[in-house]
């Protein structure tokens, strides 16, 4: 296991005050509280800075379905692999390369001689398409923050005709509904991801709060931002107040980035779809609208995912608990493969592939490091 990268809080006195406040609030509440965040960057920050170790033991912060790579479904990866096997060049973000489909990943397809290109942005995929007349498909993954960049490119009128998009984009708010509505779920409040909310605005959570009578706090990524967000969230849970609080006002507004939203919804519409290992999420997928059918790889080509499915999942893969981990019912420690058959160098499940996956983050940062000393022995 790798050692933890230690960090000094920018403002230890403020960190200690926030941690003390969390402990006081939890003592008042007097029972365990479970809350969920839905963002890989929040999990990274919490693990890296060891924030969980400063929380009261009765306060459980769960990482929900906040890793876009991890919730990309096996059949979606199969489609991308099939396109490669059918002769297309598939360009995608680096994290997607090793994510397993039913039996193959894009890395496997590449090793078998297929054309797979890792790109940093969709523009690089377009640039690749300009150099050839062969089909170039951008396998587009990610939440709303990334989907807006796909949308803006599809609105351009100078795209090469051989360029299409295989959309596996997902929309976070509907997944919160599914978790909140699960009978076995213990979640009492959500910490929403600051950067997705830059796009959607915090107002989008009002409907959720109304429907599920559950508080939502939008938080940033600095350790102090997260601690402040947690204090606000636990206060709301303790008081039984379903409300949205914006604890990241320096980046997030109520209405969000209107210009980006406008482009997003011109190109995409919400569609029900399966999130890997979790459930069918009503309206959780972003599908390309009919007006852009000529840019939709699913409609331009006859994609046959069965080509890539092979003999089905391996014996190890069926033991993966990613889905249960992402809805807060299990942790990586409940998985018999964690750190044994499944490690970052040789991942079995998507949560061990991505830098935003719970299993990889916990493994890399050594689970729950103790940083109490860093803020002067707060607890």
């Amino acid at each position: 296991m790798n050692g933890t990268t230690q960090m000094k809080f920018r403002d230890p006195a403020r960190a200690k005050a926030l941690v003390d406040r969390l402990h006081a609030l939890m003592a008042e509440i007097g029972r365990p509280v479970n809350v969920m965040h839905v963002c890989g960057s929040h999990e990274q920050a919490m693990a890296r800075f060891g924030l969980r170790a400063t929380f009261p033991k009765s306060l459980n912060m769960i990482m929900g379905p906040g890793c876009p790579v991890c919730i990309t479904d096996q059949p979606e990866v199969d489609e991308a692999v099939a396109l490669v096997m059918q002769g297309a060049t598939v360009a995608t973000y680096g994290d997607m390369l090793r994510v397993p489909g039913t039996s193959k990943s894009l890395a496997d397809a590449q090793a078998a001689g297929g054309r797979v290109e890792v790109v940093y942005s969709i523009d690089q995929a377009v640039a690749i398409a300009r150099t050839t007349t062969d089909p170039v498909v951008f396998f587009a993954t990610g939440f709303e923050t990334t989907a807006v960049t796909t949308a803006t490119v599809l609105l351009r009128d100078d795209l090469p005709s051989n360029f299409t998009v295989l959309s596996a984009h997902k929309f976070v708010p509907p997944a919160m509904n599914v978790v909140a509505g699960m009978e076995e779920s213990l979640v009492e409040g959500f910490l929403a991801a600051g950067h997705a909310a830059i796009i959607t605005g915090w107002g989008i959570f009002e409907e959720f709060v109304e429907k599920y009578r559950m508080p939502v706090v939008v938080a940033g990524f600095e350790p102090l931002d997260i601690l402040a967000g947690m204090v606000a969230l636990v206060e709301l849970v303790g008081r039984g107040t379903p409300a949205v609080v914006n604890a990241y006002p320096r980046c997030v507004t109520r209405e969000g980035n209107r210009r980006a939203q406008e482009q997003l919804w011109r190109v995409f519409k919400m569609q029900s779809g399966h999130w890997r290992g979790i459930a069918d999420i009503p309206e959780g997928n972003l599908e390309i609208r009919d007006e852009f059918a000529h840019r939709d790889a699913r409609r331009v080509y006859r994609v046959d995912p069965a080509l890539a499915a092979g003999d089905g999942p391996s014996d190890l893969a069926v033991q993966c608990l990613c889905g249960s981990i992402m809805v807060g019912l299990k942790t990586p420690h409940d998985c018999a493969l964690y750190g044994k058959d499944c490690v970052p160098e040789n991942p079995v499940g998507a949560c061990m592939v991505s830098s935003e996956g719970t299993c990889k983050i916990w493994w890399q940062y050594g689970g729950r490091p103790d940083v109490a000393a860093m803020i002067g022995g707060a607890r």
């Binding site: 890296r48 600095e222 890399q364």
Partner: protein, 100 residues
Amino acid sequence: MCLGIPGRIVEITGLTAVVDFWGVRKQVALDLVDEPVKPGDYILNHVGYAIRRIPEDDIEGTLALYEELLRETDGGDLMAEDVAGELGSLGPAHPKGEPS
């Protein structure tokens, strides 16, 4: 991937800006940012696109986390690697807008 990275605009041509990220200059698309931006402004970049202009008062608070991450890279740090990855792979040649 969702963290993004802040940088300072050096110059703007059409919908493309040259942005300085701690001394590394890269091109960033401005199609999505919803406020007018000018050289000297800070923006938050996500996969090659500015998604937000960072207000003056908030620049220091926003930069702090990244400076910490860039300073203390010792390998195996996923967050620092993601940030370094954003820096390293921001394509220098932004193909948008050029006639094909």
